[in-house]
């Protein structure tokens, strides 16, 4: 199946959810149903399915399918956590529409059009960063976000347009390719809020609902970065130009983001800021991946894109659940949280392990590969071990959770499950065996009805345990992806080869990324190896 059913479902559900924003329950229900349907349709996307609409091609791939499935499932859990914790308006619809735009951008084979789609998806985020009816400060945050999106989008559109035609003698001028390459890489850095372009991202982390943060700062920009990676490999890398100054500049931005993002996250008291800056830090590795023109960078960078969006989504969900339970995101006010919410404590440990990793873990090796390929050895070692600072960040949060509970935490919801009404007692009054049997059946029926009627109230009363369970599931998913599960590395290896422009070198249909050869522009895929080593279709 092509990607079209997924897009139709997502656009319909997202638009309907936003149109019903005045009725929050309906809006959320539509988004949840849409995300379920999106997960189902995403799993049916064919790795080689291509469809042409109005002269533009939409192509599926294993990586795209995994991105869509993970995005839908994680979006589902994020909305669930949001409903049980804080229930922010508009966030579910924006998550659905943003995901649709990200998948559309990844499916489009023309990078110039894909950039327009990725930018349009980012704009959906303004709706939650500057919600209608919010204070003027929200307008300030929204303005910053809009400006960043416009600048990044314009840079990327110009870069792709410059090299998407017969270049004549200009092909011998490396400066042209250097400028275009630098512009696109800087656009990616701006979209991620990489340091020094982080100011807008910091404000968005402050103002946007926690549940929408992964979409605004990770999923949407990840699609943008994936398009950049494809474009760089097709338009810049095959020319074998050194471009050392541009690459050094991009690598510097990436390395700075990795290290300084972690330091910034460490000193934050607001947990949503911690999420925001850890995303900035992780995005540094993506920017580092763009600094390499070697085809070897493909697999680790695309693997890392999926790993980091999943782990950071889990962390964002954890923060939303904690916020919903205790009514605050400020760490100093959350003393003793782990004592009242032990499941969230376990989830945090799992998320920490999945985010920091250790040598030998797929996540660690992926980061190490990116750093080694993009940086000189001493700096690469420093950047590779820098995520260990994450232990201090998570350790600080956990240490606060193990303290004596403060007043705010004591008054919070806690995770202990309960039932809203006392269980009715039904004494047996029958004398004979038959009478008692009938009575038992009647009691069982009555008890079942009691449970059914009380379920909505029970769900309301147990909001915190439900949110915690959802976060634990997300943490488990993050751990699995960090360990290289769900076929992430294999999917990252199977990279679609996009349609090159008339002036670009023509890639071979069966070549690995970076190699050139065939004169016919076509969409093709490198076969990937299944678990048994056999080639998948």
């Amino acid at each position: 199946m092509t990607v079209v059913p997924f897009l139709v479902v997502a656009v319909t559900a997202g638009t309907a959810s936003l149109l019903m924003r005045a009725h929050r329950r309906w809006s959320t229900t539509i988004a949840l149903a849409g995300l379920l349907a999106m997960a189902a349709t995403a799993s049916a996307i064919g790795a080689t399915a291509i469809v042409e609409i109005g002269g533009s091609r939409l192509a599926g791939s294993d990586w795209l399918r995994l991105f869509a499935i993970l995005g839908s499932v994680i979006g589902l859990f994020l909305v669930l956590v949001d409903v049980t914790a804080v229930h922010e308006p508009d966030a579910p619809g924006v998550i659905v529409l943003g995901l649709a735009a990200a998948v559309l951008a990844l499916a489009l084979t023309d990078p110039g059009v894909a950039i327009a789609a990725a930018t349009a998806g980012g704009l959906a985020g303004v709706l939650v960063a500057a919600p209608v009816g919010a204070a003027a400060r929200a307008a300030f945050v929204g303005t910053r976000e809009l400006r960043a999106l416009a600048v990044a989008g314009a840079l990327a559109i110009l870069a792709t347009a410059w090299l998407a035609r017969p270049l004549g003698d200009l092909i011998t001028a490396p400066a042209v390719f250097g400028f275009a390459y630098l512009a696109f890489a800087v656009a990616v850095a701006v979209r991620f809020g990489a340091i020094p372009f982080h100011l807008w991202a910091a404000r968005v982390a402050d103002a946007a609902p926690g549940v929408a943060l992964p979409l605004l700062m990770a999923w949407g920009p990840a699609a943008f970065a994936a398009v950049a990676l494809v474009w760089i490999d097709q338009s810049v890398a095959p020319l074998l130009l050194p471009l050392s100054t541009e690459r050094a500049l991009i690598a510097t931005i990436g390395a700075m983001s990795v290290v300084l993002g972690l330091v910034a996250a460490w000193i934050q008291d607001d947990l949503e800021h911690v999420v925001g800056y850890t995303i900035v830090s992780d995005a540094g590795f993506v920017v580092l991946g763009l600094a390499v023109l070697d085809p070897d960078i493909w697999e680790p960078t695309r693997t890392w894109l999926l790993m980091f969006v999943v782990t950071r989504s889990a962390l964002a969900a954890w923060v939303v659940a904690l916020h919903g339970g205790f009514g605050t995101r400020r760490l100093p006010s959350l003393a003793g949280w782990a004592r009242r919410a032990p499941a969230l404590g376990i989830a945090l440990i799992a998320i920490a392990a999945a985010s920091v990793g250790w040598p030998g873990l797929a996540l660690w090796e992926t980061r190490s590969s990116i750093a080694t390929l993009s940086l000189p050895v001493p700096v690469a070692v420093l950047v590779t071990v820098a995520p260990l600072l994450g232990l201090a960040i998570y350790g600080r949060i956990l240490a606060t959770g193990l303290e004596q509970p403060g007043a705010i935490v004591r008054d919070g919801r806690g995770e202990r499950p309960g039932w809203p009404v006392p269980w009715p007692s039904r004494p047996m009054v029958g004398l004979g065996g038959t009478e008692r049997a009938f009575e038992r059946v009647a009691h069982a029926g009555s008890a079942a009805l009691d449970v059914l009627w009380t379920l909505p109230a029970a769900a309301r009363r147990n909001r915190q345990p439900i949110a915690s369970v959802a976060v634990v599931v997300l943490a488990a998913l993050a751990t699995s992806v960090a360990a290289g599960g769900l076929g992430v590395p294999a999917a990252a290896r199977a990279v679609p080869i996009v349609e090159p422009g008339p002036g670009q070198p023509q890639p071979s249909s069966s070549a690995a990324p970076g190699e050139t050869g065939s004169p016919e522009p076509e969409v093709s895929f490198e076969p990937i190896e299944g678990p048994s080593g056999s080639s998948l279709p």
Partner: protein
């Protein structure tokens, strides 16, 4: 026509003038192409332009007249800057190689880019900043029109979606600012609630400032004193 619309959009103080200019830009930009897009893509772009502008109008709706910052250098200077950029764009068509589109598109793109710079960098009201963002992206799309092969119908559809998204984003921001009763951006100091107090810079505090400080420091006789345990 596109450039004239953009000049009007960035220099008008009245939101109505800004929106009219913006509408002209969005309607005229897709037509600076050789060959023209088909009727369906044009219809999609026209619908997107109308919808984007309409969304901003909805965001601006409310009690009281709103006045934006407008251009600080005035429309003649903006027009001259745009004309200069247009000449540069026209002359450098293709940017070093043969462009597949018309030089007029690149001229318009350069002009819109030049006009978008000031609102984006120095704009202090949300509508002006939103217009700057919209013009910047439109400028990039026009340059793409000039350099690359004519856009396919699918591409026109995606650009239409982008235009609607931009209009919606500007509308949302304007509505948030409107809720505070003005288009000016509330920055870090104001925190969105009260206007920022003007800090003393090189001047010594005036007698009035000193008097106010003294009154603030002295407790009111009516106020009960905090008892110590």
């Amino acid at each position: 026509m596109t450039i004239a619309g953009a000049v009007l959009a960035v220099s008008a103080r009245e939101p109505r003038g800004t929106l009219l200019g913006l509408l002209v830009v969005l309607l005229a930009a897709p037509l600076i192409a050789t060959p023209w897009p088909g009727p369906l893509p044009i219809l999609a772009r026209v619908a997107a332009a109308l919808l984007a502008t309409r969304l901003i109008v909805v965001g601006l709706r409310g009690e009281g007249e709103l006045v934006g910052d407008g251009s600080r250098i005035g429309w003649p200077a903006e027009a001259l800057a745009a004309a200069a950029a247009a000449v540069a764009g026209f002359a450098s068509h293709g940017l070093g190689a043969a462009g597949l589109g018309g030089p007029e598109a690149q001229a318009a793109g350069f002009a819109l880019g030049a006009l978008a710079a000031a609102p984006l960098v120095t704009g202090r009201d949300v509508l002006r900043l939103g217009v700057g963002s919209l013009l910047l992206l439109q400028a990039a799309l026009l340059v793409r029109q000039a350099l690359d092969a004519p856009a396919t119908d699918g591409e026109q559809l995606v650009i239409s979606l982008l235009t609607i998204g931009l209009g919606g984003a500007v509308a949302v921001i304007v509505a948030a600012a409107r809720a505070a009763g003005r288009l000016a951006i509330a920055d870090e100091d104001t925190r969105g609630d009260t206007p920022a107090p003007r800090r003393a810079d090189a001047h010594r505090p005036t007698e009035r400032d000193l008097g106010r400080r003294t009154r603030q420091a002295t407790p009111s006789p009516a106020a009960p004193r905090a008892s110590r345990r």
